[in-house]
Amino acid sequence: MDEEARRAYWRRNLRLMTVLLTIWAIVAFGCGIFFADALNKIEVGGFPLGFWFAQQGTILVFLALIAVYVWRMDRLDKEFGIDTYEEEVQGS
């Protein structure tokens, strides 16, 4: 693959990461800690929402973020025609 395509691949990767990591920061530190008090005024299924985020929601969102990342990167790899991956390790 030529250098131009490789740069384009990297830019797309960075853009995806920026979006996902922004959501990550808002959920982990916002919903879980800084807005927890405000969210606690809303109740869902017996849980004050801020408390639910801190003990359940953040973890589920983290899992979803990695799932989206893996899925989108697979698609990106295919789009750029990457079908063989490096499997070399030192000395093998």
Binding site: L20, A54, L60, V70, I82, E86, Q90, G91, S92
Partner: protein, 571 residues
Amino acid sequence: MTDIQLWTLIFVGLTFSVYIYVAYASRVTDTAGFYVAGGGIPAPANGAAIAADWMSAASFISMAGIIALSSNGYSGSAYLIGWTGGYVLLAMLLAPYLRKFGKFTVPDFVGDRYNETARLIAVLCAIVISVTYVVGQMAGVGVVFSRFLGVNTTVGVLLGMAIVFFYAVLGGMKGITWTQVCQYSVLIVAYMIPAFAISAKITDIPVPQIGFGKILEELEALQAELGFGEYTAALTGSSQLNMFLLTATLIFGTAGLPHVIVRFYTAKNVRAARYSALWALFFIALLYTTAPTVAAFAKFNILGASSTGDLASQSWFDTWADVGLITGPGGEAVADLNGNGAIDFLGGPGNEAVINNDILVLASPEIAGLPAPIVGLVAAGALAAALSTASGLLLVISSSVANDVYHKRINPLADERKQLRVARISMAVAVVAAGYLGIHPPGFAAQVVALAFGLGAASFFPVMVLGIFWKKCTAAGAASGMGVGIVMTMAYFVWTLPAETAPIFLGRDPIMDIAPVGFGFIAMIVNFVVTIAVSQFTTKPSAEMQALVEEVRFPGQTDLVARHAQTGDVG
């Protein structure tokens, strides 16, 4: 021998035999197998191994207790968010690129990307972090043995050492990985069964993650009645800030702990490394979303019993009071101090019982009235959690010594057989040393485990991320950033930790109310600033190195990386 001891013996014997068989079946004959399992572990198995590696005695035994038994149930969430959030960073910022890089250890990456000074600083950090961490695991093994089987703590640690010695020395990373897959299965089953049973019993909903919403209202009423804080209330002011700092330190520390990072070298390829991170967090989330439910249900049961005056008549209460893990307010034996005919467990004045954090999970099957075999299974699960983490840490210690110091610095010409022998010997020495420290834990062991996360965040995380995402990050920048990060973290610990636990601690007041466990995040930011600033004025990496970094960002096969993995040569 009681029923519980018999069943514990059966489950521990059974699981240990499985570990020995798996270790024997996956013994290795080359260094790639010993350090990174030949880089050929499929993603789901690697994910389960990472999860077992990650979830230590603290996650399994202590975490639910920390959440339940502090006055406010919400404040323990720092551990839930902090010990899972780092995986998002690992998946996107480190795992794929390290796998592409294709080396053996974390100092390997630092040394190859930067220079030999940086490698040595990295070796030092990796060893300090892993040693502080492993001591706690070995001590945990001893505690489980002594509580459940009534054997001496020393005998327990020796038994644990013997089993780790067998599979780690024989099988290296390959033996450790496949054993960890088994250990994960044991620990998750042991954790989930009591949780599901308790939820079904109290709420009729067998899924505890949903069921525990049904008891929160009653739990709040009990908390208020007995003088505890509001269970679900969020923190405000300086305690909110400290919770943020602790959470952030745990998150970035997770992404900087060498025994976790190194697991991504064991994946088959870049794609498998990404999937490993996904599987790992999935397996971890099963336990981490269950832990707060175990906490809430146990607190609910305990407070309910205390409110009706029945606490002392619970069977588990006596069991744990006998071994001194439930005591009176001054650490003496439990007694009915006010003579009202009941033991009162209260959140304020008049409290007659102090319950140790560690018994909550271990006692949860008994609290729910489950039969003896389940109690035995929980003991085996706790041992699996402690042993799996210990073996991952020991591998980091031995590979830092054998690969980064012996092979890279002392004898670069050593052949495969000689390297493998040195790796096995350093593993054996590390196991024995960890066992010794587990039997004679230093007085300040509890405080320094928190230091491990601070150090991980303040040393490795910034230089690894910048090494991949910033081609012009220089060796001098990385070395000074790591140096400043470690020194700052260490200095703050020496400044604030209680003076009576070790002669070097000063026991001064924290600066601006910042708790020492949350300081790693601040030191990490300083590391970033220093690394970037110094990189502006020092010699830029060679054109070849910059080209190599560009290739690391690309998951397909590339020439430079392949040649570099084979020969260690950049040009």
